[in-house]
């Protein structure tokens, strides 16, 4: 709630290196390196990531080459083109999405939390 101002990497921007932080990030441009967030990452249609990603939630609509670790969910939208491995509690691949790699879903429910069916 504290930091909800948008963080956007525009379509004409290239970042080489490491991005980390704890706020939502939207990437329309190009990132090479590594992205580590305690929040949600959105890669828009124009976005290109050549990076390993470690986030809570990943919404992928663009191009991603690298390993994706999402502690909550990774969603590949129809426009997504992803090459790499995905490890997430929930993985969604929508019709039309292009994916190559392995998927590992870890179903780790804390004690006392009810599994919400399937």
């Amino acid at each position: 709630m504290a930091d909800k101002e948008p963080c956007l990497i525009g379509s004409q921007i290239t970042i080489k290196g490491q991005i980390s932080g704890n706020q939502d990030l939207v990437i329309e441009g190009r990132v090479e390196g590594r992205v580590t967030l305690q929040n949600k990452l959105t890669v828009e249609e124009t976005g290109v990531l050549e990076a390993d990603i470690e986030v809570v939630e990943a919404t992928l609509k663009g191009e991603v080459r690298g390993d994706v670790i999402a502690s909550r969910a990774a969603v590949l939208h129809p426009s997504a083109r992803v090459v790499g491995n995905i490890r997430a509690a929930r993985v969604v691949i929508e019709d039309g999405a292009n994916f190559q790699g392995t998927i590992e879903m870890e179903v780790e429910l804390p004690a006392g939390l009810k599994a919400d069916g399937r």
């Binding site: 930091d3 101002e5 948008p6 963080c7 956007l8 990497i9 525009g10 379509s11 004409q12 921007i13 290239t14 970042i15 080489k16 290196g17 490491q18 991005i19 980390s20 932080g21 704890n22 706020q23 990030l25 441009g29 390196g33």
Partner: protein, 114 residues
Amino acid sequence: MMAKQEKEKTMANTVIGSSIVIDGEISGEESLTVLGTVKGKISVGQGLIVESGATVEANIESQSLSISGRVTGNVVARERVEVRADGKMVGDIKAPRIVIADGASFKGNVDMDV
């Protein structure tokens, strides 16, 4: 109040939020606003705004640069560099037009002979 209005007006396309840290190189052809931390190198084709509270430890190349936060590094701007009243800068500046506002802190070399 004035600063707030200006801040909204100058919100650029790309925004590095206040709790984001980038370690590496940022380049591109659009304007950039930094509220968080950037270490490394920044090279943008348009304006760069380092907002109050932001920390930039990088060599910077841009069209124009406005500093309200803290910048450490050398700056080359094709048009204009402004160190605002709440800005703190350590490094060399090379630009045809340079403004250092009353209250700003600056240490480094100034070269307007571009």
